[in-house]
Amino acid sequence: MPLIRRDPSGASAPKLEGDAVTQLSDANPDVRWKAARALGKQPDAVPALAAALHTETLPQVREAIFTSLVLIRTDASARAAAEFVRSEDAALRSGALDALAAMPDVVERILSSLLQDADSDVRILSCDLARTVPGDVATRLLGALLQAEAEPNVCGAAVEVLAEVGTADAIGPLTACKARFPGEAFLGFAIDDAIERVGAERLDMNG
């Protein structure tokens, strides 16, 4: 039989030797990849990981850096990832959002400030992160946004998320938001749809 059985030798690839933080800027991408992965349990490496994201161009190393920020899982690591939500580089933005979505418990703590960011693009993208937190939390945070947000596009993003994950408590803020933007037909339509959805579920949950 041409199939041969060979048990794994157990001899893994050599481990990283030396200072992983320094090696984040090594010329060899394999060393940078291993360094990024090695720092996933070191909360004090957050500044170095964040700095490396500013210079790293290889997608797989960027991904490993984001994963280490996820594994560190502190407010600082989440804020470090969140900084890249405002990046001009679409891949970095996407990487940051994926990383944040992988730590919903931490995102819950920083989402409020992200939703008040001065940059409306950051607020729009942050609305999407609300999908990862419990429905009542998303309803509270996005409901608060809808009360004061001046940009209809940001409200639209929040409404879309509420339609998916919101509870019936969203009906009040949704209604108020519609009243604040009487000239935005698309927003009014989306709000009516969202109210119908979360309202239907309230009726059902109440039997």
Binding site: P2, L3, I4, R5, R6, F66, A102, V165, D204
Partner: protein
């Protein structure tokens, strides 16, 4: 199933359900699977005493009593059997091995990893499939490794005892040639087949354990990543990436999408299956037409 009629799920509700599943689990459902999905949802509605789809969907979104895990279990067939999802085995012998073999130095083995392998049906299926369907099988050294976190399952795999249900997709001729009767309704994988597959314990999210398995040309990792949370999925994807040779392939379950899990791999569409490839840095070779 009781006397209740299956629920009526509107187009919009169906779309929301599919979107929810994709976002939360990476599982992909299309309109073609609508009947299958509706049946599973109906089962879960009965089990949770949900009167309407909207009520059930609210429970699902809030993950009450781990409902997400419950419905994933309903969607995935937990029992395994020989030649399951064999379209990927077709792809293996039609496209993947041809491409990998072309990269091999003389005498360099082709390595295939089945993880998790449960009680051995998948790695033994791969061995049988190669012997039956790959004309070049005699030209190469081929190593097949089955790994699982469950050492009891691994012991059962090494023993190779199976019931009729596990063999139900095999022809009598295949059963005759690769198995020996071991009881009334029990067959044992023939010694030669058992000796063609190695087994090892591994936890997919422990880097030291996955690295110890070496690097592979093709990995079958089906219906396990959907059970992981996002953090574990990222780690598992990076471990699998390290365990693939550049240009190597990974096959997931039919409802799973690596694109939802990690950007590390490139999607490759072949005639029989969609698989994921570790970038080789070389231009992609076109599938055989």
């Amino acid at each position: 199933m009781g006397d209740r009629e299956p629920p009526s799920i509107s187009e919009d509700e169906f779309a929301r359900l599919c979107d929810f599943f994709y976002r939360r689990t990476g599982m992909i459902f299309t309109e073609a699977k609508r009947y299958y999905i509706e049946r599973r949802v109906f089962e879960r509605m009965l089990a949770t005493d949900s009167a309407t789809f909207a009520q059930y969907f609210a429970r699902l979104r809030m993950d009450l009593d781990s409902e997400i895990e419950e419905i994933i279990n309903a969607f995935t067939v937990n029992e395994t059997y020989f030649y399951r999802e064999d379209h990927q085995f077709h792809c293996l012998t039609t496209d993947l091995l041809r491409l990998r073999a072309a990269q091999k130095a003389p005498g360099e083995a082709i390595r295939i990893w089945s993880v998790p392998c449960s009680t051995g049906e998948e790695p033994y299926s791969i061995a049988m499939w190669l012997l039956e369907n790959w004309p070049e099988v005699d030209k190469h050294d081929i190593e097949i490794l089955g790994s699982d976190i469950d050492t009891r399952a691994l012991n059962a795999a090494r023993e190779g005892l199976y019931g009729a249900r596990a063999l139900s997709r095999l022809t009598p001729d295949l059963i005759d040639r690769y198995f020996e009767k071991a009881g009334e309704e029990t067959w044992q994988a023939a010694q030669e087949l058992r000796e063609s597959v190695a087994f090892s314990p591994v936890n997919l999210i422990v880097n030291a354990e996955t690295r110890a398995q070496g690097v592979f040309d093709v990995i079958f990792c089906r219906n396990v990543l959907i059970y992981f949370n996002d953090e574990s999925r990222r780690v598992a994807a990076e471990n699998l990436f390290e365990c693939l040779k550049p240009g190597g392939f990974i096959c997931l379950g039919h409802t799973e999408s690596m694109s939802r899990i990690s950007p590390l791999f490139e999607v490759r569409r072949y005639a029989d299956a969609i698989v994921y490839q570790r970038p080789s840095g070389k231009p992609e070779e076109a599938p055989r037409g």
